[in-house]
């Protein structure tokens, strides 16, 4: 009650029914998933660092990521091991790995967040409409969902990208187009039970139309689940984008973790230049793992049955 911010009225001190899971407000509510979960807190700290790096990437990178560095005698500084000037060494093309990783952080986060947002937007609406209206609307939307669910991601993306522009925006669009069924299914199943709750009848009797019931009464109650899958979606998007770039189907002019590893692979020095591919590889692993742990923490709050203790 302390967070309510309102004084208890006199006479309201009577014994109360056992409190259901408390809906907290504002920051407290956002913090709730992390309370006592060390992995999630550590992930949050790690993520904060990456977000900081991503936001300030152009100022943090010591060099232009695609700039070639020359020695005094005019030769390219190819494959330097890490030094004070080039913290992560240089590439075969004499570029600074550290700067590339930093600039890649920004693109990874942007791709991840935008994809997850688009996926949530589509999945949430499809799930809401399918679950709420039922009938042929539900059948149509859910069969579509099943079809999309069955499309293998990488082969589809590769074929599509070879027909389209090789731009990061297309990669984002393709991933959002294939990721939303997960959110849609989760949301629909929630809506199926929510729409039978008496408070929906009550809203109807107050004169609320379908739109109002869907977006004011039902949607806020499914948002936690949709959000959880959005957080996982960030991780999937980052991995997938890296895979597409690694396979060489991304935009050759952007610097991302995937393209860095692609460069290592195509220059066939993987066994020699560990400093070139380990940093971007580790970044992918660390960031996606952090998003998974955070998503898991939110999921345990959104779905108490998963709680182990």
């Amino acid at each position: 009650m302390a967070d309510a911010g309102t004084p208890s009225p006199p006479g309201a001190a009577a014994p109360r029914a056992p409190a259901p899971p408390r809906a907290l407000r504002g920051w407290r509510r956002l913090w709730q998933p992390f309370a006592g979960r060390h992995l999630a807190i550590a992930s949050l700290v790690v993520l904060a660092v990456f977000v900081f790096v991503g936001v300030f990437a152009p100022w943090l990178a010591p060099h232009e990521p695609l700039e070639k560095h020359y020695q005094d005698d005019g030769r390219l500084m190819r494959l330097l091991t890490p030094t004070g000037d080039f913290w992560f060494g240089t590439t075969l093309y004499a570029r600074d790995v550290f700067s590339q990783v930093i600039i890649g952080t920004r693109s990874a986060l942007v791709v991840g967040v935008i994809t997850a947002a688009a996926m949530t937007l589509i999945g949430l609406n499809v799930g809401l409409v399918a679950g709420y209206f039922g009938g042929w609307v539900d059948s149509f939307l859910m069969r579509t969902t099943d079809v999309v669910f069955g499309v293998p991601l990488l082969p589809f993306a590769i074929v599509a990208l070879s027909l389209l522009d090789r731009s990061t925006w297309w990669i984002i669009a393709l991933m959002a187009m294939l990721f939303w069924p997960i959110t849609a299914r989760v949301v629909r199943s929630q809506v199926l039970s929510l729409r039978e709750r008496p408070f929906i009848d009550a809203a109807r009797i107050s004169g609320a139309g379908h739109l109002r019931i869907l977006y004011r009464h039902i949607a806020p109650n499914v948002m936690p689940q949709a959000f959880v899958h959005g957080v996982f979606g960030v991780a999937w998007a980052i991995t997938t984008e890296a895979s597409i770039n690694f396979l060489g189907f991304g935009d050759p002019y952007t610097v991302s973790w995937g393209t860095i590893i692609y460069d290592v692979f195509t220059s066939m020095v993987s066994f020699k230049a560990w400093w070139w591919f380990v940093p971007p590889g580790l970044c992918i692993i660390i960031v996606t793992t952090a998003f998974y742990f955070i998503g898991q923490a939110f999921e345990e709050v959104a779905n108490p049955r998963l709680r182990e203790r």
Binding site: A14, R16, A202, A203, S206, G207, N221
Partner: protein, 345 residues
């Protein structure tokens, strides 16, 4: 049909031969059945009136159709046949869109479950202001005033202390008052109260019942009080209708129906009211086991299979609800022997 009493008040709701059926789905049968399954007649040829200003009790066991009847009146269900009219001639079957939304300014409902009937993510203010917002009534400050008045009226005082609370911060009784405040904020003429106290602690039931009674006495609110509990009904209601398997078996002024129950089912219900006296030795009820599997399709009285006084005619014909004296009607051949004979053969 005449329930008795002064006929001065115009009926607020007029129901004529209302029927509502649902497809019966047994667990296994439902899996394999194709096409038309068995139908359950939740409301089966019911005619009655709700008079302006009265509290009408609708009593029946679970499955008797009393909740369905309440839901028909707020159009959460649509009746299959018959007619339902509101005071000013509005036909419930024809309402839709804007007309339906405006109908809800006159007719509101409170639900049995004080936990499920309030959106857990809405504050008290959000919950009560919702009907004003959907009906597009008033501006922000006008709405705040009306919400405060409704909360006050429902006994959530002082309103300001409750406005920002979430449902989980309220007790069951407070939630039911919140539900009532939401229903009252539009100042409706008719309130359907669907078992409003059955999920509440016994100690706070009286408070809610008194609140409803007060709304009726002070504001002239008409209430349809749906319940399975004859004892609370007697306390609250002006008239009582007893429903059994989708049909009205007895209807009349509250005291008469309870003190002078005519229908064997009504008598059995009355005999089931607990008497708070350990010394009292009640005679055993004559009513047999309730035959759950008895076919509802039979042409006879729904109660014939259980009734200790069932006659041969009871299995063939369904008795109609007819007056036994002023302000008291019963659907039973025992009390209308002429009916039984007149239409036999």
């Amino acid at each position: 049909m005449d329930g008795g009493g002064p006929v001065s008040a115009a009926p607020l709701v007029t129901a004529r031969n209302v029927r509502k059926s649902f497809a019966a789905r047994g667990e296994l049968a439902g899996l394999f059945a194709r096409g038309e399954g068995a139908m359950v007649h939740a409301v089966d040829d019911v005619s009655f009136e709700i008079r302006e200003g009265e509290i009408l009790g609708l009593i029946g066991e679970s499955g008797s159709g009393k909740t369905t009847l309440g839901r028909l009146l707020v159009r959460l269900e649509r009746h299959d046949s018959g007619s339902l009219h509101f005071q000013d001639g509005r036909d419930l079957a024809a309402l839709g869109g804007r007309a339906l939304r405006e109908y809800y300014r006159d007719v509101q409902m409170i639900f049995q479950d004080p936990y499920g009937s309030i959106n857990p993510r809405f504050t008290v203010h959000d919950t009560v202001v919702e009907p004003l917002a959907t009906q597009r009534l008033g501006d922000a400050s006008g709405r705040r005033d009306r919400v405060a008045r409704a909360l006050e009226r429902a006994g959530l005082r002082p309103p300001r202390a409750f406005a920002d609370k979430y449902p989980h911060e309220l007790s069951g009784g407070e939630r039911q008052r919140l539900s009532i405040a939401r229903a009252l904020v539009l100042e409706p003429k008719l309130l359907i109260a669907d078992e409003p106290v059955s999920m509440l602690d016994v100690s706070i039931r009286a408070g809610i019942l008194n609140l409803l009674k007060q709304q009726s006495r002070e504001f002239g609110l008409t209430i349809l009080y749906v319940s399975h509990d004859l004892s609370t009904t007697r306390y609250l209601c002006d008239r009582i209708a007893i429903m059994y398997r989708g049909r009205f078996v007895e209807l009349g002024e509250a005291e008469r129906v309870i003190d002078d129950a005519h229908h064997p089912y009504a008598q059995a219900l009355k005999a089931a009211i607990p008497i708070p006296d350990p010394e009292f030795d009640r005679p055993r009820s004559e009513a047999g086991e309730d035959p759950d599997e008895a076919p509802q399709e039979s042409a006879g009285c729904r109660y014939a299979g259980t009734c200790p006084k069932a006659m041969e005619v009871c299995h063939r014909r369904a008795p109609e609800l007819r007056p036994v004296d002023a302000g008291h009607s019963v659907a039973c051949f025992l009390h209308h022997p002429a009916d039984a004979e007149a239409r036999t053969d």
